[in-house]
Amino acid sequence: MTWPRSFGPTGPTVMERRALLLRDGCTLDVIIRPDSKSAGAASAPEVLYKTAALIDTGASKVCIDYRIAQKLQLREIDQTTLHVVGGKIEAHLFLGELEVPGVDYRELVEFVAPKVGQLRYEALLGRSFLTNFMVTFDGPAGQVNFMRRTPELLQPYDEG
């Protein structure tokens, strides 16, 4: 498959896709797995969780509902406190594998799992994921375009 790759809401007209992108944002299908040596992987090697993750530049990392971490028995690797409106909440950080087939991405990543109530989306693709790509939010076309960062494309940035 070639680049760039485009994602966004489906709809019969550009105007409809544009309105849906404005209202709902853009999601990518993701697959989450425990690391190969975690308790979850040991008990069931094929265990995985599929969901739609919202692209979110406001999140610094990849975030998941903590119930996904529980279900997959992800390995906890750090803990922190998040300061939010109205107080503090506990967040646990987990190690796991994130696969985003649409952009050929499969890596070990750090998942943040805040202990909060039901979220509209079970996963957010934050900047720790987006930093691997050049992403264009094409509002008028109702889509989001991804380009892979290749060594040639990185060169001007690395040298600067």
Binding site: D35, K37, C63, I77, D78, I89
Partner: protein, 77 residues
């Protein structure tokens, strides 16, 4: 489900100034109160931790990462 990482986190906090001086902005791995290694990327730190300490409890943390940002506000009409 929560794992007790207090020993690792306390060790990280004690050693943090030294780690920053020696290695700068890196990902580090701690097992109990022992510093195990430093890496330029999270993926490298995670792979090292799994390969060498996969059966143990470990902490992976960045030496100078800013506070986490997680949007958690939703407004219902």
């Amino acid at each position: 489900m929560s794992v007790d990482l207090s020993q690792e986190i306390a060790a990280f906090r004690r050693k943090k100034p030294e780690l920053i001086t020696k290695y700068g902005s890196v990902w580090v791995v701690f097992v109990a109160d022992e510093f195990k290694g430093h890496f330029p990327s999270f993926q490298q730190a995670a792979q090292f931790a799994l390969d060498r300490h996969g059966s143990e409890r470990f902490l992976i943390r960045h030496t100078d990462e800013p506070p986490l940002q997680v949007p958690l506000v939703a407004v219902e009409a």
